[in-house]
Symmetry: C2
Subunit: 81 residues, 2 copies
């Protein structure tokens, strides 16, 4: 199965990278843009062993390694097959 | 309207960041994981001016600034309202 993980800065946290992209887009003439937020998008293949709860383990991976839960939120989608 | 942009390493391109994450997950005991790819996830608000083609302009933003089209692919989703 395949998992897709989105990691984004929390809404109330400053996002310096998003601010920089916003500013660069304005400089290029794209004035219609605002509120740019830059996060990460991680895909992975999972071959679960018998008895493994893939979603619970992906939650663990996010909390332990992939996301900084102090300043980021994450969502996990699992696609079978 | 809101736009969501996914930028990922092309399938045939090495992804050193994905390899590093894969290896770190294995070290933590998540041996069921493989094929990790790390991309970017960008959200932005758009207030199109009359006559502007938002999708065409988002494509331009991706090609000119947001993505490196030599080694990355991107997808654009637009959500009205």
């Amino acid at each position: 199965m395949m998992a897709r993980i989105h990691i984004s800065p929390k809404p109330d946290i400053l996002d310096p990278q998003g601010k920089a992209v916003n500013s660069a887009l304005h400089d290029l003439g794209y004035r219609e843009v605002s509120e740019v937020r830059v996060g990460r998008y991680i895909t992975l293949e999972i071959q679960p062993q018998p008895g493994q709860d893939s979603r619970a383990r992906l939650e663990e991976m996010c909390r332990r390694l992939l996301a900084n839960i102090n300043v980021e939120t994450y969502t996990i989608e699992i696609h079978e097959g």
